[in-house]
Symmetry: C2
Subunit: 463 residues, 2 copies
Amino acid sequence: MPTPAEYLVANHTTFLEDLKAFLRIQSVSTLREKNPETRQAAAFVVDHLKAAGMTRVELFETNRHPIVYGEWLGAPGKPTVLVYGHYDVQPADKVKDKWTTDPFEPVVVDGKLYARGSTDDKGQILADIKAAQAWMQTTGSLPVNIKFLVEGEEEIGSENLDAFIETHLDLLRCDVAVVSDTAVVDLNTPSLTYALRGLVYMELEVWGPKVDLHSGQWGGSVHNPLQALCEIITALHNPDGSISVTGFYDKAKPISAEERAAIAEVPLTEESWRASTGAAVAWGEPAYTLRERISARPTLEVHGLIGGFTGEGSKTVLPASAKAKISCRLIPDQDPFEIYDLIKQYVATITPPAVRSEVRLLNTGYPAMVPIDSRAVAAAKNAYTRGWGKQPVFVREGGSIPVVATFNKHLGAPVLLVGYGLPDDGAHGPDEHFYLDCFYKGMATMAALLENLGGMTPDEVRG
Amino acid sequence: MPTPAEYLVANHTTFLEDLKAFLRIQSVSTLREKNPETRQAAAFVVDHLKAAGMTRVELFETNRHPIVYGEWLGAPGKPTVLVYGHYDVQPADKVKDKWTTDPFEPVVVDGKLYARGSTDDKGQILADIKAAQAWMQTTGSLPVNIKFLVEGEEEIGSENLDAFIETHLDLLRCDVAVVSDTAVVDLNTPSLTYALRGLVYMELEVWGPKVDLHSGQWGGSVHNPLQALCEIITALHNPDGSISVTGFYDKAKPISAEERAAIAEVPLTEESWRASTGAAVAWGEPAYTLRERISARPTLEVHGLIGGFTGEGSKTVLPASAKAKISCRLIPDQDPFEIYDLIKQYVATITPPAVRSEVRLLNTGYPAMVPIDSRAVAAAKNAYTRGWGKQPVFVREGGSIPVVATFNKHLGAPVLLVGYGLPDDGAHGPDEHFYLDCFYKGMATMAALLENLGGMTPDEVRG
């Protein structure tokens, strides 16, 4: 009989085809017209959990997209591992977003699999499922008890997940949670993420005249809502790149000298930053390094501007309103609801008198940090060393996975952020891709992690 | 036999139905997918010029939308009047722009005809055509020679009109031109517009990273193009509402004390401004009255902001680029091409170092003024008094009709701006409408104007 690792290698081609099939499903959770496809992706997860040998697989309905649950609890006395991932993806429009290839027709070029969701998160969660399958197929059992929780609303703020967790604490009880939805530093530097930023996502709307006006008739006498929106957005930052919202940084935990030293061990040079972003000159808080700005400092970003005439050619409209989508990334101990209130108050004070404005909350997620000196973390570190072939470094990540804070709070279990993506995989952007090497090493790492955790008692795993 | 005025009254219902049929044609010149409908509107004009008794009616092809020409030259020795209008309209989307009714299904409510193009300009040009028809049907001839020039590109900057005029000077030779594409002060105050603002319409684009990025991964280190665009737009005005572009006002002719006094005779109170715009507080250059700001001063307006994620829900994208549509209204003696250059230079100096920007020219129109002490103007004044029942006031208008400057320059004929719309008809906005009363009074005014001009020699008309 092959080992789990050998089984995985022998099935690389099969699992790649499985992943391609998964990626062809347009499970864009934010678009209601894609609800059937999003449900189809949930069904795909159900099928593959069954193929992996889960003895109970269930689809739980929510107010929007279903949650997929699967378990195998055939190792009494062994630790129970909860594996989290998501089957939904960000929107992608080949033409508008300028993809080289169809975002929902995966293709492999130069060892990279191009498709929306390839790295975020279909490729990563499928790697975890296939790692479990490898154990079942080669040994008939798993070294640990395992529970899979795969949701379909991660890209829209996990609207229904918290309520589901809170009402299914028994079902989800575990000794450790594993989340594969992060990136490693680079192909040759695996990393364990020990901190994630939180998020508060808002919509800012500005109203001026009661209806769209003709700029020739009324221009020059009306504070144009598009211009007023620009003025408000401009005023949210100081000229040096710091955020000007009163009280914004008050609860932001300073980065300790030790941590800054650790962060400096994985430097982000302006050169490699430029290669990844394609931008000309770095920007942001001058007192912090590039790596700190993107992972350990809070931010305020504009995601979209909407207003007036946006079609071909010219239209001399003076529009009645304008809208922006903005979000903040938060660090411990910033509270997303408190930050929302601060922004609301600040926007009210800077809104020009001739227009009205409103800031609406779209979704939130708390920042999270996980203890790096636990036995569970040691197991993950060793798993990377075995599965990836290199010892991982410890990093903070700039993104947000709100469920990590929820797991901490409700399940009381440590959360291991065991990701397989790369920072410039293009998650959320055009030409998103996933290195085949990351897919294969990810499966191997997860298979090793299950074995390492199985060698410990539940108490040791809980730390 | 009825008089032309009586004929018009007797045919109010018929001509209203004609106008409705005209308005049902979606001749949105800026949208290429509406090219067939735009051509259909040209054909409608052809038919009605023929019905009005024009002896030569011709459709001239251009690079985009055809120009309709019609003439009746059966009054040798009499003045020749060139009537200009346009059959194209601004875009209109019932849902997106929040129209109460379908913009292309005209309905009459409370004496107002609601539809895109009702006031701008289909209702006004059709009134002129029907005034000519009234003379032909009741007397078998017209008091003057008449030439109609009806284009289909007014809403997109009359791209091909100048070239057409320059190459058809003989065809268009006339003693006076009449343009019915302006508004009167209010239902009881007809007005003769003696000045129009010019226009320079531009697109401003800002680029940052090479592709759309994930804000969680790179946010805080990249100068967000949406934010940079907002910063640039904000910096185009001073806090007091004046335009900060270096040199912008250098060639703007000051408003004389006499003119300011004349403008003050038709005051725009903050109250009536508020009723028309629905905005809360007036804005703009503090040294000028509201009427001056909207008609006699240059402006810079933002018409559209485009960038990032603009769909439903949330997407944490940090986009590669952002775009705005902006335009300036110009007064004598500002030159649209010079202003474009000034803006290009200024934007280059205020563009933040971490992004790139470009200002592209979309279209231009020169400002224009017409002499108010000529005999032709006296004829128009009397025509309003007869057709509208009130003596008109003299006003400057804030909008732009670039063809007026072209007529001045190439035909050497005075241009009469004889409009029938009202300032809050909603031209270019949702729920655009045209008072039936304005339609009917407009026809009567034009019929009277033709008679008045026919009572003069060509030399008297030319002034």
